[in-house]
Amino acid sequence: MKRLRILSCVLIILWLPSTLPSQSIVNTKHNLSVSGPGTVKATSETEICLFCHTPHNSRPVAPLWNRNDPGSNYTLYTSSTLQAVPGQPDGTSILCLSCHDGTVALGNVLSRTSNINMATGNFMPSGVSNLGTNLRNDHPVSFLYNAALAAADGQLRNPSTIPPPVTLKSGKVQCTSCHDPHKNINADFLWVTSQNSNLCNSCHQRTYWTTSSHNTSIKTWNGTAPNPWPYTPWTTVAQNACENCHNPHNSGGNKMLLQYQTEENNCLNCHNGNVATKNISAQFAKAYKHNISGYLDVHDANEAAQVTTMHVECVDCHNPHAAKNLAATAPSVNGFLTGVKGIDQNGVAVNPAVNSYEICYRCHAGSPGSPAAATPRVIVQNNVRMEFAPGNPSYHSVAAAGVNTNVPSLIAPWTTSSRMYCTDCHASDGTGSPAGPHGSIYPHILKRQYSTTDNTTESAAAYALCYGCHNRTSIIGDVSFKEHSKHIVGEKTPCNTCHDPHGINSTQGNSTNNTNLINFWTTIVSNSSGGIRRFDDQGLYKGRCYLTCHGTNHNPYSY
């Protein structure tokens, strides 16, 4: 038996190739010969190269091509932001497709008179390697990538600076720009590892990307389904980088090669508490929300800053290439809102938005479908940009510090010169909830309860929203308006009856009748016996009202 073993050893040594390269096509799935390591392979053919190449009588296509072109007509990738012009696949890409579009028998080579028999059937089995003739969901190929393209796109490297081994082929991006068909050193036959999207970054230079959390976060998945990274071997957000959201082949979304067609799924598969700490997904299960799941394929990356077709998606407010955890002071955008389009206070498109409210104005400043004012009032204004305009007689201090310098109810650190965010009122309810107006159990996505039912018994809870900044003791202690307690506690009148919380535009109201956010709710407040419904400001903590409310005629009542 010992001799038998020695002889076996000798035999093995004799049959080993004299040089065994550490990485060679021999050890890859592109070895389609009978000795190949993959499942797609020949039943008896021993040669490897001939599946693609032949030393003689090749097709007149470099590199000594041994296969016929598929002759397919391909559906190409398109996108509204694509500057490149992909043509029908040519160059090396069409060579790849002579197996990978699934229309040409794998064993159909010129140097053999009949097809080489394959163990798994003649054609490329369906799966990720079979791209089909619909390349709509694949990264574009066969387009010229020159300095002009880089300049037009603005977020691509100048081609002269693309780091090898990623290369253009005769000036074009081809399959072989990313893939080395002969070696599988980096998995998927990639020239450069996809870890941290090194490969993608060879060409793509996204603005803001360097500091984005999606590029830097070392968060991992907690293992609760769904797997946010089903197609990669990487285990952190930073490692997955582009592939957190994008899939260069067989993307589910086509658009922007996003993993999923349902836009928000690209975000919520991580932002559900399984990877990201905050569970944004849970917010969207609440009754009042920015209804991201209500729209499909309406948002377009190239859409104008002022939204013209009603919709909302995560990326309408967030730029996933830019978002990062960085605090800011009102009204400036914080890290989560970095790099997003906006409409400034003058109605002019800005990119990026500098102030947080500019992002809200994308939709809430006159866009079709933006919600009408919830309360019927004397002065009607549905455009919040008009409501917050700094020249107004009164407004909450979103777009500028407030007009009124005497607000004794303000709880420190709030002062009359403080600026506030829209999200100080409109945000998810609940302690520890993620910031921002994702979803709330309260109407209008308000952070706390804001009762607008007439005859509500006053309590800290009923007007928790207002009392968050305006000291309840001060309000019902009548420190400013002497009749607050009488109205709110005694008459059980909600704050919303007299106050229009956003503001009153200067073209509709004035600094006599509309200071202190006074704009009456017409359902509750009707005309006085004199046919007047009006507030007159008469100086600090002084005024008079003409109206009828809860059956009481103010004709006028002064204080």
């Binding site: 004299s18 390269p21 490897i48 190269c49 003689h56 070696k183």
Partner: protein
Amino acid sequence: MKKLRLLLFISIILVSSKFGYSQITGSSHDFSGQSWNTTTEICVVCHTPHNANTSVLNAPLWNHGLSNVASYTMYTSATMNSTAGQPDGSSKLCLSCHDGTVALENFGGVTTGTHLMTGGALMGTDLSNDHPISITYDAALAAADGGLFNPTTTQSGLGGTITNTMLIGGKMQCSSCHDVHNSAGINGLLLKSNSASALCLTCHNK
């Protein structure tokens, strides 16, 4: 012992097929039985012991008429680092039959033959669909290409480096892959077996 004997038997067969003992007789280069070869000899189609054609440097006692083709169309590729010039050296000898311009029986001074090569072995004068030949293959080329082994240090499996056992004067020629005399006994007159594309992968680091 029975198993041992069986294994020995298999090993002899395997080893003999690897280090096969073969010859030109009976190979596709044995033209002794061809109608156009009235000599019934084998070697004479290419070689003569006397009065050989010396116009090709180092030609081995050449006896076949040489082509007058001034310009072959050579293989090109955007990624090729070598420059394929016109065929030279021993490759010109091969082309004296395989370019299809000189009659097969034009040897030993005959110039009036009529049998031109046909079929799969006919390269023609358009070599753009054939592996480039007559290219200098040295360490510099290997370094520049990145997909070639260094011929001066890489063993060919034929008893030495690629340079020493496959190249002629540092150049890749027809005979770098082909053994015209069929000493290896491999289909296609190959220098070594191309099972698992071993011949291709001797030079190509793929």
